[in-house]
């Protein structure tokens, strides 16, 4: 009996002495885990910020390319034509001169309009600050001007008033990459951009009627760099990318993300 009591007492004392050791060990382990988690979070934030900066630079670069092309192909041509028209004026023939001056005025007005549009585009990522929808409309406007593509824009579900400028910028860049891919490789005539917003999720889908490709084949080669970029970009805003394409039957790229 005395032996039993002695064992109970020794066990309870040992338990009471061991519990603090286990508690302290548990706190050590949890604290280390917390530290690792915080460090990983900080690293992810840093990666996100650097990707965001890269995206910003790419959007600006794309804008500069568009401006360069427009100055050369559009405004440059209009001003050359204006110069030619003004040079060809014969002051002796007043009626014909009037006609040419009117034509020159018309060309100048068109140049001014073009310049104004360029001015807005020059604002670069400022465009995204107007809202994702507005930025997409500007992008569509520039694509349609080439006359090679018909763009359908479908916007289902009102986007929330409180947007996320960072996400907007990344999504806008993803859209630019998708459109670049279509223009460069798809040989498409029709592009459909669709934005659906439902229950906190935003779905951006871009499809075309181009030549399509074998998804498995392209994503395994360097040729799929653009698509890899899209996937990587979507991942940094916590989005998922779906690429579906059939050779000869067009392509559809979808990005689904929490929004805002």
């Amino acid at each position: 009996m005395d032996k039993d009591i002695r064992e109970i007492i020794i066990s309870s004392i040992l338990i009471f002495l061991m519990v603090p050791i286990f508690v302290l060990a548990y706190i050590f382990i949890q604290n280390r885990r917390k530290k690792r988690y915080i460090e990983e979070k900080a690293l992810m934030k840093l990666t996100f910020e650097s990707e965001l900066l890269k995206t910003q630079l790419e959007v600006q670069e794309q804008t500069m390319q568009t401006i360069g092309a427009d100055l050369h192909d559009n405004i440059g041509q209009l001003l050359s034509l204006t110069s030619l028209t003004l040079n060809s004026i014969e002051l002796d023939n007043e009626a014909k001169a009037r006609q040419k001056i009117d034509a020159a005025i018309d060309l100048t007005v068109r140049s001014i309009k073009e310049m104004r549009l360029l001015g807005k585009l020059l604002q670069g990522d400022q465009l995204v600050k107007l809202g994702l929808s507005e930025a997409i409309r500007y992008e569509i406007n520039w694509i349609e001007r080439s006359g090679q593509h018909t763009v359908n824009y479908l916007n289902d579900g009102e986007l929330p008033a409180a947007s996320s400028p960072d996400k907007d910028l990344v999504l806008f860049r993803i859209l630019q990459e998708m459109l670049n891919n279509i223009i460069k490789h798809a040989q498409a005539t029709e592009i459909t951009i669709r934005i659906d917003y439902e229950e906190g999720y935003l779905k951006l889908a871009v499809s075309d009627n181009g030549i399509g490709f074998d998804v498995a084949d392209v994503t395994h080669h360097d040729a799929g760099m653009g698509l890899q970029n899209i996937k990587k970009r979507a991942a940094i805003i916590g989005g998922a990318t779906t690429i579906s394409s059939v050779p000869g039957a067009g392509t559809c790229v979808t990005v689904l993300t929490l929004y805002p």
Binding site: I13, L17, P20, I21, L24, I27, I38
Partner: protein, 221 residues
Amino acid sequence: MLVYLTCNTIIELACFSFALIFLTRDKNVIWKLAIVYLLITCTTELYAIYLKLDDKENGWLYNISIIFEALFISGMFYSLFNKHFNSKPIILIGLALFAIIYCWEIRDPEIISNIHERDGGFNDFTNIFMSILFAVYSFYYFLLLLKDDEYISVKSSANFWWAAGTFCYYFGSSIINILRIIPHPPRYRFLMYVLPILNWIIYGFWSYSFICRRWIRTSVR
């Protein structure tokens, strides 16, 4: 003279020296009060030995020092908890309960002697209550640390080491204190080693926490 240097007094005097060296210039009043508290503890311990050598009762002396112990430890927890929430109510409730049990035990000293022969008139019930209360406070402090989004650098956290020492001591000693009041308390030889070990743990951890306080102060500067 050597009779005064016991296992307990050595570590208490060492801890008091650490407090004197590392906390004298501390800007936090509660931490600075650790010097005063440890001075009281060392004086009590040495005077208790003197009384014992003189064959006099020393329980009354511990009953006085327990008040300072309750006040200082509660003050420290108030300071630790305040970083997470307004801890004034729970600390005051704890102190009020302590005061009630203390007065009740002082007024009715037979409460325990009815169970068994009292150990030199020491307030055992109050001591058990205090042990449980501070063990719960320490445990709650660790829960707050776990819940907190920020992580602490354990190696240099004075608060953590102070609470760790307090937790080990009061949690471990609560069983010893309970064993003292049960009818026919066991008189095993190993029991007399447990409290000195716990004393070494608490004052060792506290001494390290005082060093951490100094690190914090010098690194901030």
